[in-house]
Amino acid sequence: MTANGMPAPAFAASAPCAPPTGNLVPLLHEIRHALTRWLEQGEEHVIDLRSIPLAPGEEDSLLEQLGAGEVNARLSILGPSDIIETRYPGAWLITHYNENESITGRFIEVCEVPGILKSQADDIRAGLERLEDQLSYAETTA
């Protein structure tokens, strides 16, 4: 598998291992600090994993370290998105894919629940309209 989740073409030379970046532990510390701040002040924190250089093996190592907790949600929003609560409650791993199943973004959010999981006011409004239309149609054809 290549770094973005695509299957590696058979003829590609196996990528030579790049040396580790040493960013793994500092990243975990950042999560630790963010969890502390959330407990003390309720302050949320977002980390864009794309902005931190990680050698291919290191990202897998990080995901292994974070593991999976109690929540696993798959969203269908113009391509799938996976939201899992890691084994450290409050630290959520969000992975966005496009319709071709390529990764387009990866974030770690420290919060009660990631904003994108919540229902959005605009969508609720649009859904309510549809429900009202549905009900009025049902009533007129009753």
């Binding site: 290549t2 770094a3 973005n4 695509m6 590609a12 030379a13 990528a15 030579p16 790049a18 040396p19 977002v46 980390i47 864009d48 794309r50 902005s51 969203l75 929003i77 113009l78 391509g79 998105s81 966005h96 496009n98 319709e99 071709n100 390529s102 990764i103 387009t104 973004g105 990866r106 974030f107 904003g115 994108i116 959005q120 006011a121 605009d122 969508d123 649009a126």
Partner: protein, 362 residues
């Protein structure tokens, strides 16, 4: 062409949920290397975006840039943004042709004078205006005419940005870039042959959201063209260790060693290929085993051979050295002969002084 609806309203109409929109804003911020705190800013700005009118002019080009753009699959919302941005005129993509098409363009220009975005691909013959025309209008005239009422210009591809292939020696059509002809409008250069699709759409989205991005000395958005290929190349550790492939498909090449000796222009090329890559992040030329051509730099076609390493002089130095040596031999022999002659005449004319001479003088 209604420009009353905002992007947010258009998305709603199309049944795109706000969640999907937020996902797009998050991935866009990530791609533009903006911090996550900017995500709500992008969301707030984009949803209020009214359909800006865009006129796309294609001049002396191979259509590779349009092809690259239409292959851009990174997010469907980007396609939507393009639907939304009211592409009022695109010579290649539009269904209309002939006078109807030109009329549509003129209408869009009049209606949105001063606020439409002009996108250009292809170079322009700067002098003889007969080399490339559309509907009988020369490229140069059309460019200057449309540029006059544009808010800003985006020059897509190395041809529009720097002159590209048509400008390569001997430049038979006198091709020049957009910035050579238009001097009074902000121009964003998005070079590449072609540019990476995600970069094209990223620049346009960035431009629509935040206005003119930070540009480098060649007018390229620093977010995508700020670092060289060499600085982000995954084969860099091999360069640093002095491990190079000597020829295509040799042992070193198979091990993925640095392609500097094969002529890689990575060190002098600024683009996002090593990070963003091509075909949805599948690979890029160096990863496929071919040295970088430097296609996002000016005059890359004339920059010495693609397969000659950057440090090597472009001329035939061995031949020059031989000529120089020969000339030196001739000149040296002549000089040497004249020096010997001077020495011999000095010896011959040497006057001996005897003690009697000295006695007489005192």
């Amino acid at each position: 062409m209604s420009k009353d609806k905002t992007l947010g309203e258009t998305l709603q109409e199309r049944g795109i949920s706000r969640r999907s929109f937020l996902k797009f804003c998050a991935t866009t911020a990530s791609m533009m290397a903006l911090p996550p705190t900017m995500i709500p800013v992008i969301a707030a700005t984009l949803e209020k975006l009214r359909r800006p009118s865009v006129i796309w002019l294609s001049f002396q080009e191979c259509t590779g840039c349009t092809e690259s753009l239409t292959r851009s699959h990174s997010a469907t919302i980007e396609e939507l943004i393009f639907d939304t941005i009211s592409l009022d005129y695109h010579h290649t993509l539009q269904a209309a042709a002939g006078t109807a098409a030109e009329h549509a363009r003129e209408e869009a220009m009049k209606e949105n004078h001063g606020s439409y975005i002009l996108v250009v691909d292809g170079s322009i013959p700067g002098e003889n205006n007969g080399y490339s025309t559309i509907a009988g209008i020369s490229n140069k005239d059309m460019l200057l005419d449309v540029a006059a009422g544009a808010a800003a210009i985006v020059a897509i591809g190395s041809c529009a940005a720097f002159g590209g292939i048509p400008k390569a020696d001997p430049n038979p059509t006198g091709a020049v870039s957009v910035s050579d002809l238009v001097k009074d409008k902000p121009i964003v250069n998005v070079p590449g042959c072609p540019p990476i699709p995600a970069v094209i759409t990223g620049v346009l989205v960035q431009f629509l959201t935040f206005g003119l991005p930070e540009l480098d000395q060649l007018g390229r958005p620093a977010a995508f063209y700020g670092k060289s290929i060499h600085d982000r190349c995954y084969r860099r550790p091999f360069y640093d260790k002095g491990l190079f492939a000597d020829s295509f498909d040799d042992e070193g090449a198979k091990k993925g060693w640095c392609l500097f000796k094969l002529g890689c222009k990575g060190p002098t090329t600024y683009n996002a290929c090593a990070v963003t890559k091509w075909n949805d992040g599948t690979s890029f030329p160096i990863e496929a085993g071919h040295p970088c051509l430097g296609c996002s730099e000016p005059d890359f076609w004339d920059a010495g051979s693609f397969y000659k390493a950057l440090s090597i002089p472009t001329g035939d130095i061995g031949k020059t050295a031989v000529y120089a040596g020969t000339a030196g031999l001739v000149a040296g022999a002549a000089l040497g002969a004249s020096l010997r002659a001077r020495k011999q005449s000095a010896v011959k004319n040497h006057e001996r002084v005897t003690i009697d001479d000295l006695d007489q003088e005192s």
